[in-house]
Symmetry: C2
Subunit: 185 residues, 2 copies
Amino acid sequence: MAKQEFAGTVLAPLPLVLVGANVSGRPNYLTIGYIAPLEFGKQVVFPINRTRYTSQGILENGTFSVNIPSVGLLPLVKRCGSTSGRDVDKSALFDTFYGELKTAPMIRECPMNMECEVLEIVTTKQSHNVVGRIVKSYVNEELLVDGNVAVQDAGLMSFTAAGDLNVYALGPLVETLHKHSRGKQ
Amino acid sequence: MAKQEFAGTVLAPLPLVLVGANVSGRPNYLTIGYIAPLEFGKQVVFPINRTRYTSQGILENGTFSVNIPSVGLLPLVKRCGSTSGRDVDKSALFDTFYGELKTAPMIRECPMNMECEVLEIVTTKQSHNVVGRIVKSYVNEELLVDGNVAVQDAGLMSFTAAGDLNVYALGPLVETLHKHSRGKQ
């Protein structure tokens, strides 16, 4: 297995999500390719360009949502990544719902959603690195089986940026490493 | 699409990697399920339990590696996640190689590797949140095609923690969102 050097990240596969925030009271959604759990799944962190319209809403409300789209939503995911809420009313693209926080708009068409409150924003020259606490998660009713999310039925996709920006479907289940404690045996 | 509440993260799918560090001069590898890019791919961040043996090596050298395993390595990935370098010599499990940093051991059997230098460690009660700069990446020779990594040929897996801890294969390519600039047309 001879190795070649490669300039750039090879971390893969990554989630591809839609981050939601209310900007001046109207829902706006932005595609984010770099997001991760922190604190063993209790929090999320993602960088957002400081100039992004969605940034305003996150700063304004101190809340945001993370919506996990299925492959069928890829055309809208691309649109939310290539247009600004300054120019396009992205609230018209989806059916929005709200949870406990009331100010974090979530996308009903996405099979999995999380509403989050901002814990910390680390601002660098280029970006706000937003750290949020997951307040509550929501999943499509039919995906919740015995307190467990049937992720393999959600039609998810993943994203890689090792050279080309590629989108892949989620493949078959290989192995369950640990059964969820609330599930039946 | 009626929604149900779910207690816990639904961020998915996630990469499942092996983080490497030299502890007292000997390579050690730990399975990490929560890791993400920062600064638009130039950095990575991951939390590691403060009591972990690998933590010592990261603090000792200020360097570490991130190794992306293929599905065939899952038995060893599980072993590196369930045993400590205090008890088991995990350097014997893999063929180790070094890059520019000299102190960040990488796993030759993993198709994709990154060597990183520590930029910052944010320590909480439970964990060190390690932020590292990617110094150089390495990929298996046969995966590098026209300056692009053929991720679909790397046999990668992804990980979800929405209830059960499940491992999935990477599915087929859905779409190339953006061609790598160094690749030929």
